[in-house]
Amino acid sequence: MRRGLRFEDVAVAGVGMVPFGMLKERPILHLARDAGLAALHDAQMTLADVDEAFVGYIQLTSMIGIQAMKELGLTGLPVAHIENASATGLVAFREAAWAVSSGRADVAMALCFDKFTDLQARGGRGGGRDVIDAPILPASYFALWAQRRMHDRGTKPEHFAAIAAKNWNYGAACPFAHRRPDHPVTPEEVLASRMVAEPLTTMMCCPADDGAACVILAREDLVRSRQPGRPVVRPLASALQSETYARGHTFIGPVVGPSTMTRDTARECYEAAGVGPEDVDVAFCHDAFVNEELEYYELLGFAAEGEGDKLVEAGETGPGGRIPFNTDGGLIARGHPGGPTGLAQIHECVLQLRGEADGRQVDSARLALAHLVGGGSICTVNLLERTD
């Protein structure tokens, strides 16, 4: 029987990342190295302490993960590659947590990196222009979902603009974000930006990014003995699903999967953890295009079906709200390099749960949720808790 993973006796030893952005002048291996070292320093470890590593990226290059690990040292540790499109980072995190929880490793590392500026130089994502789904811009796929939402639920572009403005303003407070506006962004400014695919404007879409992030997991007793007095953050549970067939499934253009996938994956994760959405204090989701965030309010269980607009109108997913979403700016402002995106979510989860998210801290956050979809074909939901 398929069910979510519940983790035992594993805690976050360290997190590290390089601020996301267009980092053309920095080689990809140096981005990976710098994120890895930041996490090792945060964990007060060296690579000699790490028993196993999972590396992830969506670059077209093969085996570049091995090269990245060599930048951190050559200790003979096992290294395996993870690739799950936009969900890569969270799946690398899940595998590293399970490696420790299952007892096969005392310390495991998840390291992800990507350079979209390199991908663009090579002519774009996907299989080139001579494939059946090449002529359609990915933003269109999400716009199709937004248009149907407006038709079915009466959602207005203003709802989408309010969410985007929130994420831009969270980005201003996060030192790791790509987009850090120097002024408060208003929904009006978001609506006035250039139209990409109706109803999505440029400020409702994530940027292209370069970046790297790393998370180190270890046996909880090791973390407690090495880091006395520091709040301990534990992975609690994880679920991972691919698509389930239903009539109306779109096989070509797999960027937006069936919405039921997020709902079912979240349910599996909550059940494994023995908690519900009412217990979650801060959440992160795949807001590559802003209408996704609105849908995930409902699919992750924070609002009843069709009621997500009310959360937006009441400001419940922003500062001081009932369930702040994407406090590092999300994919829209923090950025979305691909592989490292999920580890950046974990990075922010850990800062929030440790109480170290200066300028954007959620009061007494104890339970965090991180969600991503990948290529519309995979979904993962993960829960982390603070234990004192």
Binding site: D130, Y245, T250
Partner: protein, 141 residues
């Protein structure tokens, strides 16, 4: 000069330019479900060995948008924008496709018909084509 598909195996181009192209799909002989594109294993009942079929040339818009950014795969073509839709065919498959028309020409539920759009010419003078759907009302107007 011939018309060649952007990628083989997804649609058939009739010899008569007046005839619409046909999407190449599958039908499961066990449960009857239809699919686009072709597949061997039924996605609904896992039966091995779906039958090849050609799908309807008409359908209804389930959702649509108008994209204002030049096409991803045809930067050699100068277009101000293009419609994109998901079309429900009568047999069941939902097909994502370019739509022919302007930003005000589409609506959810509207009936559309498939035809071809030329993306570019090859060095040999062939036209590279992809399918698109156009509103039936627009065609008769």
């Amino acid at each position: 000069m011939a018309r060649v598909p952007i990628e083989e195996g997804f649609f058939r181009i009739p010899d008569d330019p007046g005839e619409p192209p046909r999407l190449l799909g599958s039908r499961c002989p066990n449960c009857g479900e239809f699919f686009y594109p072709r597949r061997m294993v039924c996605a609904q009942c896992l039966h091995e060995g779906c039958d090849d079929v050609e799908l309807s040339t008409r359908g209804r818009i389930w959702t649509w948008t108008y994209c204002h950014v030049p096409l991803f795969g045809r930067k050699d073509t100068d277009v101000p924008g293009y419609g994109v839709g998901q079309i429900d065919l009568a047999e069941g498959p939902r097909v994502q496709s370019i739509l022919f028309g302007g930003p005000d020409d589409f609506a959810i539920g509207m009936e559309v018909e498939i035809d071809l759009e030329t993306l570019r010419e090859t060095a040999d003078g062939d036209e590279v084509v992809i399918y698109r759907f156009r509103p039936l009302a627009e065609r008769s107007a």
